[in-house]
Symmetry: C2
Subunit: 410 residues, 2 copies
Amino acid sequence: MPILVHKYGGTSMGNIERILSNARRVARDIEKGYQVAVVVSAMAGETNRLLGLADEIDPNGSGRERDMLASAGEQVSIALMAMALHRVGHDAISFTAPQAGIKTDPYHTRAKILSIDSTRIKEVLDAGKVAVVAGFQGVTEDMEVTTLGRGASDTTAAAVAAALGAERCDIYTDVDGVYAADPRMVPGAKKISRISYDEMLEMAGAGSKVLQTRSVVFASKYKVPLQVLSSFEDKPGTLISEEVKEMEQVLVTGVCSDKSEARITLLGIPDQPGIAAQVFEAVNEEGISVDMIIQSKGHDGLANMSFTVTKADLGDARKVTEKVCKKLGAREFSVDENISKISIVGVGMKAHGGVAARMFRTLAAKGINIHMISTSEIKISVVVDQDYTELAVRTLAKEFDLVEDKVASA
Amino acid sequence: MPILVHKYGGTSMGNIERILSNARRVARDIEKGYQVAVVVSAMAGETNRLLGLADEIDPNGSGRERDMLASAGEQVSIALMAMALHRVGHDAISFTAPQAGIKTDPYHTRAKILSIDSTRIKEVLDAGKVAVVAGFQGVTEDMEVTTLGRGASDTTAAAVAAALGAERCDIYTDVDGVYAADPRMVPGAKKISRISYDEMLEMAGAGSKVLQTRSVVFASKYKVPLQVLSSFEDKPGTLISEEVKEMEQVLVTGVCSDKSEARITLLGIPDQPGIAAQVFEAVNEEGISVDMIIQSKGHDGLANMSFTVTKADLGDARKVTEKVCKKLGAREFSVDENISKISIVGVGMKAHGGVAARMFRTLAAKGINIHMISTSEIKISVVVDQDYTELAVRTLAKEFDLVEDKVASA
């Protein structure tokens, strides 16, 4: 029998009525002839409540104990979901991560899934029951409880779907799909009906918060189609799958913005080979990820270099940069937190040239200055002043046909 | 190094301040040269909150899933307790029941501990750390999560203390010890400084709710002294240990009352051998425990028989009795829920005669009618009308010197 994985996030598990509604949806897919495994998050607000208690004791407390604490939230959800399935007439068995065999590395609060031994889940499905699996949790070889990082239940769902060879993994959430632009910025933004894994990954990296990046990596690696859809209303969502020919017809699939980064600029550094390497080796040693980088030559024969890091890493990045500046004899460095990264994503770019030029022209026409540019095969990102974020996104969405016609013409 | 087990109940785990206060108490015992293992309950109200959610879905839901749900409460507590210990400068490792090797039978919501493999706990203690163990939970051979019944964290604590060969198991709670009579009924009731396991068991069976009966059975079997004391103030509590000579000096150690039972009376049954056996076999087959039994002969050559069951079992007991009545050709049966069992307990009774007579005389002097009597070597219980409960307890407490002098004479 074909297998489906359903995943319900915190809002979808927000109260008993919603949990029962999820159970009825599972029942409908069983009636269609599917075996169903369900992955659930903690009830809305629960993880924050628990970690809030931990913070009252010690905000920098042991990762092991924070994982022990936070994983209790998902344990509550799996039990309630199994009860709700019983209530609507389907036998169900709940699984904590240790019971489901979700093995991770030992890095608490940000563990990565190494393997899933799906034997027990398979047995339960083959016995005609629903398997309800705790998202977010994992267990190490030594039986230590880990968690995969906030929002990682999507990743659990994709990994379980991969391990089971599921036909599809349906991610039920509080939005009804992936939009070509954030509808709060762009009224009438089109919903994407189908998107490739690569585009979805670029969009996640560019600031789209619908799915956790790692879940898309898992799905892509094991070729499990993901579907994002609403748990509150019955309508088609967005299917994330391998690239198909028709996707190239569309020039730009989505436009995203990201205000979470800051730019550091080193001014007046010697223009010699190996300087960039020295800067980024030092930054990398501190475990800081750099996103965009540009280097330019000044009039004085010295070079300037800019790079972006997440604001969360900015404190550490500032310290490293200060050291590096001294070591290299750079004149000074500056930090700009008031930036925004604007990206357009689309596999259509591979087949069609001129997209970048059209993007820059569109922004220029609105008087928006571009500070940095970076491109991949299917993505173009630019850094602009943060004040222009909404204007840039709205203008690009209109330019690349990402707004519903009736709204765009209104 | 000698080992102590501390146990903190729900009220003592009620908020972060109290949890930190518990951690400081553990630290003090470590400074005195002890290794300490801590057993904790869910935070006050948490188990009710969780089971309330379950009841919203289905009050008669799967025991397996109710256990999965409820055990999350203790998982939160162990993590917070370990964090609090870190905060006060002591390394600590939390253990769920599966991690602590607390193996139980597979009877969900009322599992019994079969064994504890204390290897990992021992390792942690020997490494100079505190082991924090989840009360109430267990795990079966098949890695299924079980719970031991409400209030069973006392039992976990006693079992862990036994497995570790602890010097003592300190049960920290919201009362400061075991009293000779319920202080709400008997103002100035004496606190018992030392009591034997057997007396404590009789008192628990007679309605004293301070400790779960099974915890005393464990402690008694493995000869681990239990101490009941307050987590809110620093003063000596009640030590429960093996019987020592001095205990016999005291005639009566405590007086208890129990309103949780109901009496069923069968009237006009044939007075033949084997009749009682038929009645109680039938009752027993339904899994109903009978507490007190009396049989008497009526004027008509027929017999009457009364027995008590807990009110929780009354519905089932009524059905069985109806069937038995028909089968035996009994005239009728009656049920009296308005009864109370009053008991006096004391190892001193073994050495001193006349205690029963003195008890009956004392009650008669107050005009209290006795419906049933049952005795053991160290306990005498009588059933009276429920309205007389407080009067009976107060009068017996005074008679047997269980009230502080200054209060008794006031």
